[in-house]
């Protein structure tokens, strides 16, 4: 396990890169889904307002 973390003495450089990539990949998913959910909510609210007498 220590060998994996150590990465031949480059662990301090290798793992932050993979962690950063994971953060960027996760952020893209979360941000896109939030954007879609917000746009959908907004559209639903407008549709409800228009349908109201």
């Amino acid at each position: 396990m220590n060998d994996v973390l150590d990465m031949g003495r480059y662990g301090a450089f290798v793992w932050p890169c993979f962690a950063l990539a994971a953060i960027v990949l996760a952020w893209n998913v979360v941000a896109a889904r939030r954007l879609h959910a917000a746009a959908r909510q907004h559209a639903l609210r407008r549709a409800a307002e228009e349908a109201a007498p």
């Binding site: 990465m7 031949g8 003495r9 480059y10 662990g11 450089f13 290798v14 932050p16 890169c17 993979f18 950063l20 990539a21 960027v24 990949l25 952020w27 893209n28 998913v29 941000a31 896109a32 889904r33 954007l35 879609h36 917000a38 746009a39 959908r40 907004h42 559209a43 639903l44 407008r46 549709a47 228009e50 349908a51």
Partner: protein, 245 residues
Amino acid sequence: MNWTWFHKLASPPHAYRIAARLLPWFGWPAGALIAAGLYGGLVLAPADYQQGDAFRIVYVHAPSAWLSMFVYATMAVAAAIGLVWRIKLAHAVAAASAPIGASFTFLALATGAIWGKPMWGTWWVWDARLTSELILLFLYTGVMALRASIDDRDRADRAAAVLALVGVVNLPIIHYSVYWWNTLHQPATLTKIGKPSMAGDMLWPLLVMMLGFTLYYAAILLIRLRAEILRRERDAGWLTTELAR
């Protein structure tokens, strides 16, 4: 030639529905390929004889750098289609692509800087490859800022499209910078598919990661495109029916 399919594809309701159907076909393979690429790159690939295990950074750096340019090219093509044929969906694709491309350009720069420290002895140098990639990040942020700063959507689309097209000149500069100038950055690994400058057991995880990242971009683009369509079509009649489903 019958162009009905093309017009249908460019219609927002059709694009909104087809994006939802296509999403799992890109999202799940992207996840599987990235997982396989990570396993191959971190576990199966041997350490490099010069760089040791530090070379494994290539498995996130190169796909990010590839996407930073691929997404920009996609954005520029969409912007050109929007400008020339006035297809609103093309502008929506360009608008949806920009933040994704910016995030991958940031990732390419950040992972490159982290890789540079142990290999070059510095986080950053103002050489041609790094500087042109930084300019690409500024282009992405410029396109997004320009679009956000104009209230009228059509004018914002046109202005952002023109800036995106002007910025295309930076793409060949990024790609050929390592040949045109003396740079610290190494030449491209995958220029010649038939004769790559990488051993096979190191190469396949990289190719798998690059394909996985590309499919991932397509999946995120589809989600963002659906949001963009909803925002742009807020007054359209089809939306009420669609959302009621």
